[in-house]
Amino acid sequence: MTEKQVILVAEDDPGLNRLISFKLQKEGYQVISVFDGKEALNAALNENISAITLDIMMPFLDGIQVLKRVRPVKPDLPVVVLSVKSRENDLYQALELGANAYMTKPFQPEQLVEKLKQVLGSN
């Protein structure tokens, strides 16, 4: 039996977190949901995950800080960052820090799932 790939969904908006998780579960992924940067960092470093969808603006530790700390430890872990359109500058920074792809809100969750599949495939 093949093991399900585990996706870490780091998003502080509970509704959106549930929606992304729901869509990913429908696609056959196992999901770990976290709602702030500290939880995200902890899960990213300690859990056996296949990829992260990482919101930039989160309480305690923002997505950029999470990425900065995760990348040296897990350089090959696929990361898709999410941010609001008006903060596109953060996205450029995230890409410089090694994020594999990004999406700006508002977005279509299906496209996020597609992006994740792509980065998982190319990994």
């Binding site: 008006s86 809100k105 977005f107």
Partner: protein, 379 residues
Amino acid sequence: MIDPYLRILLYIIFALAVIIILLLLVIITNRYLVSANQAKFRAKKEEWEEYYLNYLSGDLDLEKAAESIKDEKRYYWLWKFFGPYLDVLDGSDFDKTKALCREISLIGHYRQKLQHGTISEKATAARVLGALRCKESIAVMISLLDSKHQLLVQAAALGLAKSGDRMTFFPVARALLDNTFFTYEGATEILAAYGKSAAPLMVRFLEGETELLPGVAENENSKSQKKESDPKKVDPSAYSSVMIDLLGFFKYREALPTLHHLIKEADPETIVHILKAFLSIGEVPVNFDLKPYLEHRYWVVRNFSARVWKLTGDQRAIPLLKKLLGDRNWWVRFNAAEALYENGQPGMEILRMKAKGSEEDAAAISSYVLSRRGVELQA
């Protein structure tokens, strides 16, 4: 027999105690009601979420989902439930959510409130209909931009910005800057919600199509009178400054030729905004000559020009940067020294030389920049 004064005192103490107890009861009851209400909303939200997610994934059709979610007594809760989704969803999921909101009469309810509700109901309606990108309500929301109620103007501006309808950009910009007490930064933040797609319109305005923003052309001619007659009215150049900031924010490099043309005849404040936009875009226009700005009489312009230098790398400007090491303003000296450092070995040589020289300010700033960059002065 109790002393009459003591009796009055006791009555007062008793009355105060009763008032305090009543107040405490009101606070406790209120808190209880609020938390009970929140608990009810959370329970409803969970129930609705189940139907909504299944509807989005196609497991539930529109009629069934609407039947399960519709709640004519709780339109505000429905808005609180759908609002966060509307902010982040796009494409088919947004369309499906909007269709559901129409089916449960949320749109109809708030359209009616926008026309006939109280001030606060109209304000909520403007936010809801803006988030739902309801084209049919745009005309009413635009009319609210001229309201004498600040709350309505702000809600309509926010609603219209969220609707993303580019044609409303200028009326909203005018209302935010002229008809509200929003700070310049606050107005820019709201206008940023229109996204990069509004950038071509801003460029057209900056290129001289002032008719896009009615009222500005007249303001240009009677700036002082307007300011005196209405303190809320902003300096007309503020419109240009907001748009230049937004173009920088969106990294809209297509605006570089326009900004190049504009900077030649701009006032010092606008020059600063344009230089900041160059820094945000990370590029300067082709054939851009920085020298006049490095020599500008206004220190903020000289300061930003020194920062912009690293984008040009123009070697002809090195003597001017060298001269700015002795500028009367510390920030100008600092950024000139930083620019020289960025120029590599030749720049560093200049800094070393100046650090050992007799010009006090230039020596101090050169030493400071070299030491913060970890460069040994003796090397």
